[in-house]
Symmetry: C2
Subunit: 306 residues, 2 copies
């Protein structure tokens, strides 16, 4: 089933111990779309500037991603500059230019109306809510957010959370949003805000699946591992790629069962691990479904007791 995703399509200048890249294609919606496109049809809603040309468009087209919701505005695309020099797990932001994103008003193409899955990538919760309300027919809604919205735009974010089935955030965001230093207790508090399912991403250590019906003594539903990589070239977009693999697999299953959620966690980890192997979206652009399945098998062996 098709996923509509709303979020940022951007240019990133990135420096890591492996090198530096200027203005490579990035943005949460880009990573999510590329990743999810290996599993199901993806339709993207975003705004780009005049610097977004045929080369960038071709990246989406090569993966059959529907770009009719990609609005062209006069001005420059969203731009982010950051580095991971001291700690490969932590981005240091040097510059953020919202550019055309500052006045972004998501418009949903009529052709997207029958999407059954909706992903609200990390943008202003006011926009997330607007898109959610404009697509009342969707069956399953997942979303992401970040510290900035949790701290400074809590009321708007809480409105979004009420309409989410699944929230995907990291450890720090979970503790902050749930206002509890204990991850398990924080996760329960977050699930009382709306999402029945919470995926907490642990960076290189994988991710944990919480569900509101998980019995108290159990802790969590599933913990998917991270894969120790030969070289983490660039962790930018790993979380969005995780979300794309997770939600893309779920959408491919139609009516997701508990077993599908478990597999989705592993596909999320698989896609996150690939994203880190090259700069920007380079690895996702060159990936094959066969490589994905091979790595899925590797993740299975990495956790299998028998």
């Amino acid at each position: 089933m098709a996923i509509t995703v709303v979020g940022s399509v951007a240019f990133d200048s990135i420096e890591t111990p492996a090198g530096r890249r200027e203005r490579c294609l990035g943005g949460a919606a880009t990573y999510f779309s590329l990743s999810a496109s290996f599993f199901t049809d993806v339709r993207v809603i975003a705004v780009v500037g005049e610097d977004f040309g045929r080369r960038q468009e071709a990246v989406f087209q090569a993966r059959n991603i529907d770009t009719r919701g990609l609005e062209r505005a006069s001005g420059k695309s969203f731009f982010w500059e950051g580095s991971y020099l001291e700690d490969i797990n932590e981005a240091k932001t040097h510059n953020t230019e919202l550019n055309v994103f500052a006045a972004f008003e998501p418009k949903i193409p009529a052709e997207y109306g029958d999407s059954e899955f909706l992903f609200l990538a990390n943008i202003d919760p006011v926009l997330q809510r607007r898109v959610r309300e404009a697509m009342p027919k969707v069956k399953l809604v997942a979303g992401d957010t970040m510290n900035y919205w949790i701290n400074g735009h809590r009321p708007a974010l809480l409105e979004v959370l009420k309409g989410l089935d699944i929230l995907l955030i990291n450890d720090t965001e979970t503790r902050m949003l749930g206002d509890n230093r204990n991850l398990l207790q924080a996760s329960r508090a977050v699930m009382q805000m709306g999402p029945k399912t919470l995926v907490v991403k642990h960076g290189e250590y994988g991710a944990t699946l919480f569900h509101h019906t998980t019995p108290k003594g159990r802790g969590a539903e599933l913990r998917a591992p991270g894969l120790p990589l030969e070289e983490v070239v660039d962790p930018t977009g790993a979380g969005d790629s995780f979300a794309g693999g997770f939600f893309g697999y779920l959408a491919s299953q139609g009516d997701p069962t508990p077993a599908a959620y478990r597999k989705a966690m592993f596909y999320g980890s698989v896609m996150g691990s690939f994203a880190c192997e090259r700069f920007g979206t380079e690895r996702l652009q060159q990936l094959t479904r066969q490589e994905i399945d091979q790595r899925f098998q590797l993740f299975r062996e990495l956790t299998s007791l028998d």
Copy 2:
């Protein structure tokens, strides 16, 4: 098969968000022994002072741990005072008094001579090496170390590593010892120093098993998860309890197979999770084998795809 362990038996004063305890029984050899005693016979080598009385001795006896190698010296036992107030995952040391430990000369009782498994807990590598050499008949040797020895006593530590089959350390220690920020590459460098097997402990995120024959594309042999706990009361000794569960289970299997190593990783995580549930060794003292097996099953479900 029996394990002999050499390390510290100590008193700890601990403060965590859950409260404070004064001078509770602690030390790496204590946590390791209690944890391993649920799987196999354990024999301890350590030195204690006059403050170590019948009550402390009874904790070992209740678990049938052989204390004939527990030397009594005049003076006070090793004492550590620390807190986990800002970050539950990171101990802040307020005071360390070596006391009788300063002049510790490990003596191995004749009755320990037929031990087939040896664990060198985190102490001066000069002492670790001496014990290793005094027990040439052991079949499998595992050990632990810490930043202090890696940074300041590297030549002595390298001598110990040559005689180790298994090293259990954490992420930071692995990167420091292997002199590489990439965990996978650091782990390979460490395994070239002697230990064919490396267990890297990730605190709340579990642990990873590396083996020198693991193919390059694979990354690691196994990643065991951590268990999200309702309350982390006191993380002191969690790593030593992990080691006790891991090595205790291996010893219980006689000639450990690759499958036994995988199960041992999970038993390690199980024992580490219990250790955090109460202050000091309280939880390990009250634990039953049935509780261990139940939690092992829970860990299995936490990682099972099917």
